[in-house]
């Protein structure tokens, strides 16, 4: 068995460490790029959302590199993501790709027995003891938390750094070093080192950078290729950005959801505007917009793939939030376009708008 998985932000760090520890063969697909998108659009249903297409591209590249088993998360929620696994299995079958799918889902949807059955399918390929397997999982969780934290720090510090580009440079180097590690322990050491280093970036505390919250559909805000690297761009502009949704957030949220104590702050914040889960992360999107205002952010950017049902609903709610709370919110819809000119125009104009609202006109070129 040679396992692969679709990209979702920093997940590949944790996955690499986990399979390294378990001694299971795996293929990390090349980072999502135009080629993945091209392959994906060729084989996917035309109307399906962008994440589906990029994921298909990831699979095909991995299969070319010998992968025969695909792990993805499932969902029985009301958004199209719930159909991804079935449709994707179907597509790969039609392409004569002989691969197994292992779909991980929450116990409330598929039952605890089925979960053990599916986890067993993976872990039976490992010769390690039960204790070692649990240790491996703990390490992987630690890694995803660490890398997400480092990334979040870098995005935030970018607004305060004295030498522009410091935090971006450090973040990029951190990722390069971490992915070249040979074991989970080595990766944890590297990440700890960078977690320390990021605190040494020279910052100017007097600066009052613009602060923008990134909200919207989880895949398109986490997977940088799909949103044309918006967070990198904001770092270049010297804007502090914050994104609540991340793989580590998802793990925590999913783990706490059976007890209904997940993301209480978001639920509370969104209550006035959207009190129900309507699928995807629409409620989170609205809640985060409210929280962004409360935390003193200057604005929020909502990103979602074209045709995303939950986010269309939140897009319709956000203008009211924006008006009530006096916080500018811009919606960006991503699809197959990789031409960035129009996209950059919108981001720059939004930054201009926020700056002028502060009545301090800065000229950036």
């Amino acid at each position: 068995m040679k396992i692969t998985f679709p990209h979702l932000g920093n997940v590949y760090f944790a996955a690499k460490a986990l399979f390294d520890e378990l001694g299971i063969e795996y293929v990390v697909p090349p980072l999502s790029n135009k080629e993945a998108l091209e392959i994906g659009t060729l084989y996917s249903p035309e109307e399906i959302c962008l994440p589906f297409k990029i994921m298909i591209g990831n699979y095909i590249k991995s299969i070319e590199n010998g992968a025969d088993t695909i792990i993805i998360t499932g969902s029985c929620g009301p958004c199209r993501f719930g159909e991804y696994c079935e449709l994707q299995m179907n597509i790969l079958k039609k392409l004569n790709k002989n691969v197994d799918f292992i779909v991980m889902d929450v116990p409330s949807d598929i039952g605890i027995k089925e979960i053990f059955n599916r986890v067993g399918k993976i872990s039976s390929n490992s010769s390690k003891s039960k204790k070692e397997k649990i240790k491996a999982l703990v390490k992987a969780l630690k890694i995803i938390n660490m890398i997400d934290e480092i990334e979040a720090d870098a995005h935030y510090i970018a607004g305060y750094e004295k030498n522009s580009g410091d935090s971006k440079r450090l973040l990029n180097k951190c990722k390069r070093d971490a992915i070249n590690s040979k074991s989970a322990d080595e990766m944890i050491n590297i990440l700890s080192e960078y977690k320390r280093k990021i605190n040494f970036i020279e910052i100017d505390k007097e600066r009052k950078p613009l602060k923008i919250a990134i909200i919207g559909e989880i895949y398109t805000i986490i997977e940088p290729f799909s949103n044309l690297y918006i967070e990198d761009k904001l770092m270049d502009y010297g804007v502090s950005s914050k994104r609540t949704l991340s793989p580590s957030w998802w793990v925590k949220n999913t783990a706490l959801s059976p007890l209904k104590i997940n993301s209480l702050d978001i639920k509370k914040a969104s209550k006035r505007y959207l009190s129900l889960c309507i699928g995807g992360h629409a409620r989170e999107c609205v809640g985060e917009a409210v929280i962004a205002k409360n935390e003193g952010f200057d604005g929020a950017i909502q990103i979602f793939p074209m045709g995303c049902m939950p986010e269309i609903v939140s897009k319709a709610i956000l203008p009211t939030v924006s008006k009530d709370l006096n916080i500018p919110i811009m919606s960006l819809i991503v699809d197959e376009m990789t031409g960035e000119a129009g996209y950059i125009t919108r981001i720059e104009a939004f930054i201009d708008l926020l700056e002028r609202r502060r009545k301090s006109v800065l000229f950036r070129s």
Binding site: E348, D352, L353, F363
Partner: protein, 318 residues
């Protein structure tokens, strides 16, 4: 003493020269035709015969081709179209509260209050209702685009055209024309469909209050202006240099920028004679596989852009 403003748009490239008191003294409107570099060179050739490099004290660029243009001409201000349009409109009238701007590929709404942009929106994934679509329809009907609006004004009644998607709008138009509806009525229907689409899509949830400026190339279309006035129920104002507003804004922003910096970065009109070659290649340094654009002037690289890490453009973090 002139301020140069260049707006490299998808359909047209507009160039203006403003005098010290920000009045337009020269305007050039050329079709971009997908060749932004050559068009800038062409226009500089025209300007060179009338003006001297030293007379240009600031230069600003905007439009979707602003990146390439800034390397080429040496710009003091490189700004997005939204800010540029807002600045230009405010320069004419401080009271403007809404700007409807429809260009070749984009349509935008800019909401201003007390002279500050407080909100804006642009068309998202669909280009229906923009200038290039109107261009294409005019071409198909063999009506000069300049007269397109007059046709709409001559219409006695309206034919309903589906305006949500350019492709479907075109089919709808063809179907109705085959049924024998009058051309004028169909064109009026098209204008109304585009306005409906604009108000329901780009301007969704935005409060449009007077004074409204209608600018961008499409503002030349009287049929569109009438359709907007009809839908909004009040007057829509088309400024004198409606199709130059981006360039005017860029020139004004440049004039402000040179006040802070020392001197202009303007490289002179001589680039009109230079041999400029833009080439692109796919960088294989990492899986991002950026399409990098390289700009060479007489064999010397004057700029690289399009790479995400800065390996080629060399400006930011690697």
């Amino acid at each position: 003493m002139y301020y140069l403003g260049v707006d490299v748009g998808s359909v047209s490239t507009d160039i203006v020269l403003l005098d010290k008191s920000l009045n337009v003294v020269e305007e050039l409107y050329l079709k971009t035709k997908g060749r932004p570099i050559q068009v800038i060179q062409e226009s500089f050739k025209i300007l060179k015969s009338k003006y001297d490099d030293k007379q240009i004290t600031a230069s600003g660029v905007t439009g979707s081709g602003r990146n390439i243009a800034s390397f080429l001409i040496g710009a003091d201000a490189v700004k997005n179209e939204i800010t540029a349009h807002a600045v230009a409109a405010l320069n004419i009238d401080k009271e403007v509260s809404t700007i409807i701007e429809i260009g070749g590929q984009d349509s935008k709404i800019i909401i201003l209050r007390d002279g500050i942009v407080i909100d804006f929106a642009m068309n998202t994934v669909c280009a229906a209702g923009t200038g290039s679509f109107l261009d294409r329809q005019a071409e198909r009907l063999e009506i000069p685009i300049e007269e397109f609006g007059d046709y709409a004004l001559r219409a006695k009644s309206t034919v309903r055209i589906a305006g949500r998607c350019a492709v479907f709008a075109e089919s709808d138009m063809i179907h109705k024309q085959q049924l024998g509806y009058k051309q004028e009525d169909i064109i009026k229907g098209l204008c109304e469909a585009l306005v409906r689409n604009y108000l329901n899509n780009v301007a969704k949830g935005k409060e449009i209050i007077q004074k409204v400026f209608f600018q961008g190339g499409v503002a030349a279309n009287k049929g569109m202006k009438a359709a907007f006035e009809n839908a909004l129920g009040f007057e829509v104002c088309v400024p004198a240099h409606y199709n130059m507003m981006g360039a005017i804004g860029a020139a004004i922003l440049a004039s402000e920028a040179v006040k802070k910096d020392e001197g202009t970065k303007f490289r002179g009109f001589n680039i009109a004679q230079s041999n400029i070659i833009a080439s692109s290649f796919e960088c294989d340094g990492c899986p991002n596989r950026c399409e990098v654009i390289k700009l060479e002037e007489n064999g010397i690289i004057i700029g690289c852009f399009g790479d995400r890490c800065g390996k080629h453009s060399g400006k930011i973090a690697v």
